[in-house]
């Protein structure tokens, strides 16, 4: 297999921190877009968070949404431009905290677009505060002694939450700390986009990622951390699939 830059990414140096899985997620999506020949047709609704850096890398058309509002922006765009391939990329603060209403609304309406949800269990962009997905006991700049469920509740499981809804077509979660996880994630992104192109409705693909900078770990350590802490709580798998036959 040839390892190269997908054609839908610009040859711009990455602004993500070294070892950050945002760049991996970006590459996986770009790769699928290339495989499906959607470089010109795709529209990327960008969030507010570290993934805002994607504004500089992505060759395709981009709409920058307000923090948490990407699913609403994507709704307005896709409903008035149904032929375009539309995906929103959201961080865990963006999607699971400030944008909870927008993601639930869009998913519940079964909007025909795809949300890629990058869950690194922290607010990367603003310097590592607690996210709704921060694990119990995890230290962040706003949970100095570790997340305490008595005052902050429990990490929010977006796939499980959305899977209670009737409308969504495909909901699944993958961890990006192994090649296997990456390959499965890639397949799921392709499936989500394919479902959208066949007008089959809303798909939500959660990617468990890292934030070496704010976790205070080396990239390699983050991968082990994910195995022992993240993955047991956020269990990868398919949570809803109305179209098991679509690959």
């Amino acid at each position: 297999m040839e390892y190269k830059r997908p054609s839908s990414l610009k040859p711009t140096p990455s602004g993500f921190c070294p070892g950050c899985m945002h760049s991996l997620a970006t590459k996986l999506i770009a790769d699928v877009i290339e495989e499906l020949g959607q470089q010109e047709n795709c529209v990327h609704v960008a969030p507010v968070g570290c993934a805002t850096l994607n504004l500089a890398y992505w060759k395709g058309d981009i709409i920058g949404a307000a923090h948490g509002r990407a699913p609403a922006v994507a709704t307005g765009f896709k409903r008035t431009n149904p032929d375009r391939l539309v995906f929103a990329y959201q961080g865990d603060g963006d999607c699971a905290a400030i944008g909870l209403a927008e993601i639930m609304g869009a998913a519940n309406r079964g909007e025909n677009f795809t949300v890629i949800f990058f869950n690194n269990q922290t607010y990367g962009m603003t310097g590592g505060q607690m996210a709704p997905t921060t694990l119990i006991g995890q230290k962040t700049t706003t949970t100095r002694y570790g997340r305490d469920p008595l005052t902050t509740g429990y990490p929010l499981k977006m796939c499980e939450l959305l899977a209670t809804l009737e409308a969504p077509a495909f909901i699944s979660r993958y961890a990006l700390n192994t090649p296997k996880g990456c390959m499965e994630a890639r397949k799921a992104i392709k499936k989500g986009f394919t479902l959208q192109m066949e007008n089959k409705g809303f798909s939500f693909i959660e990617l468990l990622g890292n934030c070496p900078t704010n976790w205070g770990l080396t990239p390699l350590q983050t991968m082990e951390y994910m195995d022992t802490n993240t993955i047991p709580y956020f269990v990868p798998g398919v949570y809803k699939d109305k179209y098991a036959e679509v690959k």
Partner: protein, 357 residues
């Protein structure tokens, strides 16, 4: 074209459809509910899209997305909901996307009252959101004017790539009046706007970026051009009705429903030989500054700001043009309590007779 008897909110909704608006998202709030209700069935009839959003925040952001696809888009609300929309309106202005926002306003801060009022003047004209941008604000006083201003709103929004606000109160939104609707405009959806992300037939074009995020130097340039746009509005786009001001010794300043009621009072005062006139801003932003500069201050003995707002919100804009050359009086009701022509008549009479300070 024949005249039709319609309700204010529905007049705005139909005028939007005629103007080529093909996307609406909104969240229920009194006293504007007839706008989403009407558009929920009317838009699909003309190939448009209606979405009942999960909130005002979501709705205005849907409008942002629809505007990005080159579609004429609108949202409407009232006080509390307009506050929630301010994030999205700021994003529209920052990203330079056209859209029309309707505020059928009500009284007071917080939940306020659901009765008609004009308490949102300052929000509308000074800060529809964070970041120091301005929007054009149209304030109709009749339903025909509401129709005409709504019909034209996208021409301005698209010319400027900036949202336009229609500020009307719950009274005008609820009354019925005869209006004549303009002809249907068919929207052009084929990638013809500088900002839209449409693809023309067979076109391969991408890398277009719509965002309010700019590097410092570019953002300063962008803010400067926004300032130039506002200055241009003041030169070219002011709409105002000057009613019997030539010989006026007392000039009422009122907009929307207040101006309508004030006109009755002025006609009666005129019958009694009092030289009273009125400046009625139709665009609150740009504010009709020139109308105040044109007044003969050797003749004008007083300016009377008549608003359904306490504290009076237009007062500062008036004072900035009058510059102390005449006293400015106020006659205001608020909280959802209306005044009648009798009340305005008596208030102006008292001022003329020297009974008011």
């Amino acid at each position: 074209m024949a005249k039709q008897l319609v309700k204010g909110n529905e007049a705005i909704a139909e005028a939007a459809v005629r103007a080529g608006c093909r996307f609406f998202a909104g969240y229920p709030i009194t006293p504007q509910n007839e706008i989403p209700e009407y558009l929920s069935w009317r838009l699909p009839e003309v190939g448009g899209v209606f979405v009942q959003g999960e909130s005002e925040v979501a709705s205005v952001n849907m409008v942002y997305g629809a505007a990005a696809s080159g579609c004429r888009a609108m949202t409407s609300s009232s006080g509390p909901g307009i506050s929630l929309k301010s994030e999205g309106i700021s994003y529209l202005a920052g990203t330079q996307l056209p859209a029309v926002i309707v505020n059928i306003s009500r009284g007071g801060p917080g939940l306020g009252s659901i009765q008609p009022a004009q308490q949102d003047y300052l929000q509308a004209t000074k800060a529809m959101g964070h970041g120091g941008f301005h929007v054009m604000v149209f304030a109709p006083a009749t339903l025909q004017e509401a129709v005409d201003l709504t019909y034209d709103a996208w021409e301005y929004a698209e010319r400027d790539r900036n949202p336009v606000l229609i500020l009307m109160d719950g009274c005008l939104g609820s009354i019925m009046e005869q209006v004549e609707f303009p002809p249907m405009k068919e929207p052009d959806r084929k990638g013809t706007h500088a900002w839209d992300l449409n693809l023309k037939e067979g076109e391969k074009r991408n890398g277009r970026l719509l965002t309010p995020y700019f590097p410092e130097a570019l953002l300063e340039i962008k803010n400067k051009s926004h300032k130039m746009m506002i200055e241009k509005w003041q030169r070219n786009d002011v709409k105002v009705e000057e009613f019997m001001v030539d010989d006026a010794e007392y000039v009422v300043v009122a907009y929307g429903i207040s101006a309508r009621v004030a006109k009755e009072a002025i006609l009666r005062l005129r019958e009694e030989g009092e030289n009273v006139g009125m400046i009625r801003p139709i665009t609150l932003s740009p504010f009709p500054k020139q109308s105040f500069r044109n007044l003969n201050y050797d003749q004008v003995k007083g300016i009377i700001d008549v608003e359904l707002a306490i504290p009076a919100q237009m007062h500062d804009d008036i004072a900035l043009e009058v510059l102390g050359r005449a006293p400015i009086y106020e006659y205001c009701r608020s909280g959802g309590l209306l005044f009648d022509d009798e009340g305005i008549y008596a208030a102006v009479k008292k001022i003329i007779d020297g009974g008011a300070k």
